[in-house]
């Protein structure tokens, strides 16, 4: 038995343990036991992934019920990379869940679903043939739907979100099924090995590519297939949101990499362009919506759309450059894609766990009613702050390194004789730059409004810090954001091994070296330099602080006024107002201003009410009409069904005759 085999079996065993714990242990200790078993499963997954990434081989065949072939698990290097991500996020989220879950989310069903969800996430990248892949994929979808539904009895929004999620996820499944079917037919087998023999330039390959990419894009939350994301992420329990956003969505990216790098490398030029277009639109649209959103978790969900968009853009750039033989920048772009995957997993876990902690403490997700939490929840504040730095791609976090690599590959990729590339690259640079700028605004807003200044609502004013398990989980996740940002060298080595990129590697003190384009970055050296310039500033500050202590005053300066209420502060809505005005055409916000005049005179105003609604315009312009159309078709179809048993038998009979006719032809 190889180590990889042992690891795979250990995950399954730990999951069985978790299931048993969830079923047997009473509600008082259930969370602790089941959670611990899932943490173990997650760690096993991450370790197995690391082994596979290091080149370890081994396969496990799990028999399932009769009509199907057994599930074959044999992770390769790329799968190993994603196993590490899924396992690490799973372990942290489960740890967090021990302290977080209450009510319906702490039930037997939820803990069992959680165990299966984490296992499925870890095993999807390990699948070695299409059937196993799809089975595990479906397992992942079903278990996550169950988790999402945890709170369905109390809130109608949960039911609606689950419905959207179930429909979209099955649409994605259908597309994947079709795509793999096309590939299997062309390659003569469902194994990934035989599929890889399909010529990338054939029509079948292109058809399969489009189907599969759309299927994976839907799972990954790429605009315009993202509609489930801003509904499901906010309504799920926060540790599940973290898992969904940081790990499950990545499976979509894994799928895209699987298709374009492992199964069908060297496809036509337009494959790359398709990915760049999908990714670019997704990135800009996602971050625009995130910057104007006021629901904290909805904002994080849209930011996921943005980040996945950047990953697709990076991957597409890699493919495009490869198809023109521009190897160095292409390697850098694909490496950037994997850096983004790991970086996003780290900071988005932190952010969702932080948002969960806020929700736990205040009962609020609405930024407009938060504020002043940094004094009341210092650990959450620190963790969320680090996560926000990462999401805003500021030094020295995992997000910064990834975005740096992406921009480097874009700039160096264009320096060629190729016209198409030199048109696409500047546009891509613009998209990435605009995205980065808006992300900055979005996360300054999220952190500043939620944690700084004074509380805007009752919940925020009476908040308290979360329990130990939650704090440890949040700090672990936050530490990984910094660690990946400070020492990205090993990560880049891993990424290079995962996608087979010879021209990237570590340099210096765990710095990264994109040798294909001659760009290197050592965040640790940058930090040292920052520390060096910080020292004199700090010395002056400390000396002065001894001589001149701070004096406390009662109120912020508000023109000397005595009734400065927290309601006069800027809210998340007002913070994003200039931006929503600038992007009026893209966001189409609806604004209602209701003026109530005083009874005595129309010139005196009693109260003014301002309300702003921001709908997802993709949803209102694409999905709503589609759903309305489906409704109409459904109503028409009802006429076929009148309850008469003879009529139903008649349908069957006609169907039989029709089939016979077709067969006989």
């Amino acid at each position: 038995m190889t180590l990889v085999q042992a690891g795979l079996l250990a995950q399954v065993a730990a999951t069985c343990l978790a299931l048993a714990a969830a079923a047997v242990v009473g509600p008082r200790h259930r969370a602790r036991f089941a959670g611990a078993a899932i943490v173990a499963s997650g760690i096993a997954g991450a370790v197995t992934g690391a082994l596979a990434l290091a080149g370890g081989r081994g396969s496990v065949t799990l028999p399932v019920s009769l009509p199907f072939d057994p599930v074959v698990l044999a992770p390769d290097r790329l799968g190993g990379f994603f196993m590490i991500v899924a396992g690490a996020v799973g372990a942290v989220a489960a740890l967090y869940g021990i302290g977080y879950v209450q009510g319906a989310a702490a039930s037997r069903t939820s803990w069992s679903a959680m165990a299966i969800f984490v296992l499925a996430l870890q095993l999807v990248p390990a699948a070695d043939d299409a059937v196993s892949f799809l089975l595990l994929w479906e397992l992942m979808a079903v278990s996550s739907t169950v988790l999402l539904l945890a709170d369905h009895a109390r809130r109608a929004a949960v039911r609606s979100a689950a419905l959207w999620y179930a429909v979209m996820t099955h649409l994605s499944f259908l597309l994947l099924l079709l795509g793999f079917a096309v590939l299997a037919a062309a390659g003569g087998g469902t194994g990934f090995g035989s599929m890889a023999r399909v010529s990338s330039v054939s029509t079948a390959a292109s058809a399969a590519f489009v189907l599969l990419i759309l299927g994976f894009a839907s799972k990954a939350g790429i605009v315009p297939l993202h509609v489930w994301l801003p509904r499901a992420h906010p309504e799920a329990p926060s540790h599940v949101s973290a898992l969904m956003s940081a790990a499950m969505v990545k499976m979509g990216v894994y799928g895209a990499l699987l298709v374009s790098v492992r199964l069908m490398p060297g496809g036509p030029v337009w494959w790359g362009l398709l990915l760049i277009a999908l990714g670019g639109v997704s990135a800009v649209y996602g971050i625009l919506q995130a910057s104007v959103a006021t629901d904290l978790k909805r904002m994080l969900a849209y930011s996921t759309s943005e980040n996945v968009g950047l990953m697709f853009l990076a991957l597409g750039t890699g493919l495009l450059l490869r198809s023109y033989g521009i190897g160095g920048p292409a390697d850098a772009a694909i490496a950037a894609c994997l850096l983004l995957v790991a970086g996003h997993a780290a900071f988005k876990t932190t952010l969702f766990l932080g948002a969960g902690s806020i929700l736990h403490a205040t009962g609020e997700r609405d930024l407009d009613r938060l504020g002043g939490l940094t004094a009341r929840m210092p650990v959450t504040s620190m963790a969320f702050g680090i996560g926000a730095l990462g999401a805003a791609a500021l030094p020295v976090t995992s997000g910064f390194v990834a975005e740096w690599a992406l921009l480097q590959s874009l700039i160096h990729g264009a320096n060629t004789q190729n016209r198409l590339v030199s048109v696409v690259m500047p546009i891509a640079v613009t998209v990435v730059a605009l995205t980065a700028g808006l992300a900055l605004l979005a996360f300054v807003k999220a952190y500043g409004i939620a944690f700084l200044a004074r509380p805007r609502g009752e919940g925020a004013a009476t908040a308290h810090e979360s329990g130990r398990a939650m704090r440890v989980a949040m700090l672990t996740a936050a530490a990984s954001v910094i660690a990946l940002g400070l020492a990205p060298g090993p990560l880049l080595t891993a990424a290079g091994a995962a996608a087979g990129l010879p021209r990237v590697g570590p340099v210096g003190w765990w710095g990264i070296d994109l040798s294909g384009i001659g760009a290197l970055l050592d965040p640790l050296a940058l930090t040292t330099m920052a520390a060096a310039v910080l020292v004199p500033v700090l010395l002056v500050s400390v000396r002065l602080a001894r001589r001149l202590p701070r004096r406390r005053v009662a109120l912020p300066w508000g023109g000397g006024g005595v009734r400065l209420s927290p309601r006069m502060q800027y809210t998340a809505t007002s913070y994003a107002e200039p931006l929503s005005r600038v992007f009026d055409d893209a966001l189409r916000p609806e604004r209602d201003v209701l003026v109530t005049h005083s009874a005595e005179s129309r010139y005196l105003v009693e109260r003014v009410q301002f309300r702003q609604y921001l709908d997802d315009i993709v949803e209102t312009t694409v999905y709503r009409p589609g759903i309305a159309l489906m409704d109409r078709i459904g109503l028409a179809a009802r006429r076929l069904q009148n309850g008469s048993i003879h009529r139903y038998l008649g349908y069957s009979f006609f169907a039989l005759v029709a089939i016979l006719i077709v067969v006989s032809l």
Binding site: R419, V423, I427
Partner: protein
């Protein structure tokens, strides 16, 4: 004139053409539009003159003089007179806001570079290298025509379009016969005069020169 100097002069004229047309889209002031068009006319004339001198083509130098007079002086002047008559100072409500128009501009420029690619591969040289600028001008002119509502802005768009066509013609064929240019110029002059009459009639009729008012005439 050395080839190097020729390169630089062509580049400079083309640059001025491009810059003035970007400013034409950027600025909504109609006062500035007339001045920018005049500057553009001068740049176009210098472009023609440079080609003429380099190719030792007297006729082309004469055409340059014609361009200078017509596009650098007469047309902007007519335009400004029409503007004064309508009393308009700014394009108040374009159909597309300035920011969006500017972004569209960058994409149009890319498009111009893309479509002129075959031509530049066919005959590499400084004049063909500047062809995309001419095509950009044509595209910008269309953009103005479709997104501006004021009659004077329409005129500006039309003139920009015409400058673009002229620039492409000079750059690709290395010159247009004097008679042809004369005819084309007179056509343009005629169109401008007709539009001017139309504008003043509109001002009298509707009290403004917003072309959307013309939809009232449909019934």
């Amino acid at each position: 004139m050395s080839a190097n100097l020729f390169d630089q002069l062509i580049g400079l004229s083309a640059g001025v053409l491009l810059l003035t047309s970007v400013l034409l889209v950027w600025k909504r002031s109609l006062v500035a539009a007339a001045r920018l068009l005049a500057a553009q006319g001068v740049a176009l004339a210098s472009l023609v003159a440079v080609i003429g001198v380099f190719d030792h083509d007297r006729q082309l130098v004469a055409v340059a003089g014609l361009v200078l007079v017509l596009k650098g002086l007469v047309l902007p002047w007519v335009l400004d007179r029409s503007r004064i008559r309508t009393g308009a100072v700014r394009e108040e409500t374009p159909l597309m806001n300035t920011t969006a128009a500017l972004l569209a501009l960058s994409l149009l420029t890319m498009l111009a570079y893309l479509v002129s690619q075959p031509l530049r591969v066919l005959a590499p040289g400084p004049t063909t290298a500047a062809v995309p600028v001419g095509i950009s001008l044509v595209l910008y002119g269309f953009l103005l025509l479709t997104t501006r509502r004021h009659a004077i802005s329409q005129l500006v768009g039309f003139l920009l379009l015409d400058n673009g066509i002229a620039a492409v013609a000079f750059l690709t064929s290395g010159g247009v016969p004097f008679v042809v240019e004369l005819g084309a110029s007179l056509d343009v002059l005629l169109v401008v005069l007709i539009l001017r009459v139309l504008t003043s009639r509109m001002t009298v009729k509707f009290g403004g020169a917003d072309l959307d008012d013309l939809t009232d005439l449909r019934d």
